[in-house]
Symmetry: C2
Subunit: 356 residues, 2 copies
């Protein structure tokens, strides 16, 4: 899933180049490419599908040259994750109705490719023999209010090889701070990573049951997949399709959901603040520095980003700010999600939409 328009890393992420297509931390591969790399080691490339906005076709093609063009599924409207998954599942069904499928966001950070791949292989192996909707939950380390949580049934814990699996009690939306603290201390919640593993027939049964219109729309056109007509007809479906997430539309309603306890480090890193909190590369004064050259004094707990080549960033007497410098935007803003959101809102209001 690579369709997000993410303004949350503005001004680095833009409508034209959202987060999944960026290498914000400077590792040499974009989030999308890193996601591809993780799966390419365990799944044949021709079995990897990317669902993205039609505006990003060329970017995906350029960043993932190994993926066949017909595996890049294009969405003409933003309709959240349920239609995305229904479309891909229906298309896969025409070639491989017995498939076991992994659904993955393309803009998350995962710390160990090895731990990730081994766990995914085990989960797929297990899922292929069980009519359940599996998700992967990450043990929370802080009362994060930016993630959804999954409450699991601790007493029904079971082992699958090296891994631990629980029945899901309930999926919950992003909690407020006090609720998040309760979730964390209870020891019965995991973060919802957005990673799903299931048999094709299992998810299709669930879609048919809980989102029948969406299911029908994509499965009634089986004949057009992999033909010249596919895009035009899919465009029409997307136009009138309900926008709904797979969590809200299916997972929260189904009674056959299970959650694996993740054995790898994971972060959505969906915001500058999340990136800051996750980073292990801060300097002694708590500055997260992503810039070629910086000269700091009396400067603490800042997020400092500059991707202009040859630029020296000089900061003095500044604390708890974001200093973000790109080719065409320089932003200095307190490290506050709320204030940052005000800037994003101001861009439209104040006629700076060409910088969005």
């Amino acid at each position: 899933m690579a369709g997000g328009v993410g303004s949350r890393f503005w001004p680095v992420s833009r409508a034209a180049t959202p987060k999944q297509f960026l290498d914000i931390t400077g590792v040499g591969r974009t989030f999308l490419q890193q996601t591809f790399d993780r799966f390419a080691s365990i799944i044949p490339v021709e079995n990897i599908l990317v669902v993205t906005s039609k505006f990003y076709f060329q970017i995906v093609k350029d960043q993932l040259p190994l993926i066949p063009e017909c595996n890049i599924l294009l969405e003409s409207y933003k309709r959240n994750t349920a239609p995305c998954i229904a479309y891909a599942t229906a298309k896969i069904a025409t070639k491989c109705p017995d498939a076991t499928i992994v659904v993955a966001p393309s803009d998350h950070y995962i710390d160990s490719v090895d731990n990730f791949s081994r766990m995914i292989v085990s989960a797929m192996d297990y899922a292929s023999g069980h009519d359940k909707l599996f998700t992967i939950g990450v043990p929370p380390t802080r009362p994060e209010t930016g993630y959804g949580y999954i409450q699991y049934v601790r007493k029904s814990e079971q082992k699958v090889g090296d891994y631990t699996l629980y029945p899901v009690k309930v999926f919950t939306e992003k909690p407020n701070a006090s609720l998040a603290a309760v979730f964390l201390s209870s020891g019965e919640f995991l973060w919802n990573s957005g990673l799903f593993v299931w048999r094709l027939s299992t998810i299709n049964n669930a879609l048919r049951k809980f989102l029948p219109k969406i299911y029908d729309a994509f499965n009634n056109i089986s004949g057009v997949y992999y033909t010249e007509d596919e895009q035009a007809i899919v465009d029409k479906i997307y136009e009138s399709c309900e926008a709904i997430s797979i969590d809200y539309g299916v997972m929260e309603k189904a009674d056959n959901t299970m959650v694996f306890r993740a054995s790898f480090g994971w972060s959505d890193m969906g915001t500058w603040e999340a990136l800051y909190c996750q980073s292990r590369d801060k300097d002694d004064n708590g500055n997260l520095i992503m810039a070629e050259e910086a000269m700091l004094s009396h400067t603490e707990d800042n997020i400092i980003f500059s991707d202009e080549i040859g630029k020296l960033v000089v900061l003095k007497d500044l604390s708890n700010y974001m200093v973000i410098n790109t080719r065409d935007v320089l932003m200095v803003c307190p490290r506050s999600e709320e204030k940052f959101k005000q800037i994003l809102a101001d861009l439209a209001v104040k006629g700076k939409s060409n910088f969005q």
Copy 2:
């Protein structure tokens, strides 16, 4: 006089392009060009000499294409203003011993070309008939500690056409804050603008008397001016020449100094802070904005500069800072001369001298 190396507008001014060669406020002409323009309206171009560092020859030639090359006098070492004036005066003497000379810094701001030119013409006219060292003093409007002051003899005020002239009582160096306040309230002090008007014979007599070595060095080589040997011989003189200002070396010691009360708005604008204080173009929140596009909120009393084309500057919750963005440096620093100087010092200490 265009020899200053000015790091005081760093990172906009650099060793390679000091302030006089910049158009910091964005009027379309550099300080040097504006200075030239003011004089070109009242003095034949072939009578305008520019004294600068040999490193800046090409910049001066490019910025002032109308000035003959032999009128660009090159200093191979920094020796302050007295040698600069002695050199130019000695060279002028070979062609025009009866000249009346105006000496002007090339990096000051003057608000009215008309008022300036008319006053200079009157001052030159008067100076040509009087064996005095004339300077131009600016009525102070605040207790500025960044300028030198001239105390004048109020009771000996005289009128020269539309202008007021006083004998000088004493030249004083930059005062501390409390002394500056006394100067301002006394009504007997003017700011030293660094503009001088005198007959060639008058300044030469003063140089001979107070700085005889410097006087002799440049007047003993009259035969080489305007020849191929000039530069090499002048280089040798500069190498061993004392570095001393005309104020300290001559004006403070002479007993025939007079000061015109300036009839034009003037500012040294020698620092970001001075530029800020002088500017009449601040926004309603006290921000001085020199940038193509800016989006500010809860942002007060800042100096905001960016000369990158197409760049949007976004600031939120920031007050009393300098945010200065150039091609290769981004600086965020409190509006404090002291903290700014620490940055300049750090550049050398921390091995960032390539940005000096």
